[in-house]
Symmetry: C2
Subunit: 228 residues, 2 copies
Amino acid sequence: MRYAILGTGIVGRTLASKLASLDHEVVIGTRDPRVTATRAESGGYGIVPFAEWQTAHPQISLASFSEAAADADVIVNATSGGVSVAALTEAGANNLAGKLLIDVANPLDFSHGMPPTLDPANTDSLGEQIQRAFPEAKVVKTLHTMNSQIMVEPTRVPGEHNVFVGGDDADAKAQVAALLGEFGWSPASIIDLGDITSARATEMMLPMWLRLWGTLGHPDYNFHIQGA
Amino acid sequence: MRYAILGTGIVGRTLASKLASLDHEVVIGTRDPRVTATRAESGGYGIVPFAEWQTAHPQISLASFSEAAADADVIVNATSGGVSVAALTEAGANNLAGKLLIDVANPLDFSHGMPPTLDPANTDSLGEQIQRAFPEAKVVKTLHTMNSQIMVEPTRVPGEHNVFVGGDDADAKAQVAALLGEFGWSPASIIDLGDITSARATEMMLPMWLRLWGTLGHPDYNFHIQGA
């Protein structure tokens, strides 16, 4: 499979690295590849400059959003939630049409300080916004309710815990379930919440996820629905 | 301990019945005791008329919000979230001052159809609204992230799962932890999320709780933070 990961942050890099290790072809999409490749400063949370990361991952290429999406079988939205629709618009609706679009982003709004709020929330969700903006894409919302390292290495958290899946297309969700299996998620750990409106519920778990991070002092935890 | 349970619905009745079985003195508070006692029709979800329920629980008395609160050591808000502040206002700020006020309500707004939305949400919470409206009460938000039968019988869901606690007063939270212990919650199952602003995070889990109910087809599940 040819994957386009849109977004050069820690989530995009973690997913790209894992997919490449599973022998998938991976291109990371960014607004301006030249700017991304030559940016010298580190990002937040101790993230190294992209060029330094790419030196360690020579099999992963960098391209514009549209170039990455055009050549891909599957697109992963790992951009910041606040700019996701703009980034996907740059990727091009025609490059998304008919394809699986895995949305792992959260619409966190940091403009009012910490902790971030959600925008949209409650009466809408980023997953739904993306599906509405790109009706021909097969949007599946998943993996966004945990730290990125757990996404690709679920055994990092011992014991049973869950990953949620929501989307309107059954085949696209089956494809995601298979990918989650490649990441190490057992069939029993995957909870299918139905259509893309379930993104409203799962995105609203983010404030709890963030609160727990502050309370526990580490991000190595995940939600488990006991009794499911 | 003398408990006043405000609210005559399934949550209030379940908590009242459990507290009475633990030999606590329990009064249920309602807007108009005469109306509640003589209402003949059943509530939703197969709930029997209050008088019929009370016949089976003769040790639990019924009083107005203010009478119930005035005589109580601890007040439990089990009213519908949309009317909680009004009900507590009827209970009387002076009857709440200095006391533990356990808030188990969720601000679900059914006025726009199903599923309900939250009001407030994201930038505020019912728990915070109540604490602001009654600054001398010691508000602790807890138990509202699960079905009421699990609140008082956690072993109904096999395996480990959690109850969350949030509030500004450490002594009040310790008192709640002791009560949760009486209900059967182990110390390890109780996660203290800090101050009352954590209600924002836990109340926002309700859309997920409701979505899971629809997905699983039963309410006997609970959130477990694996790795906590």
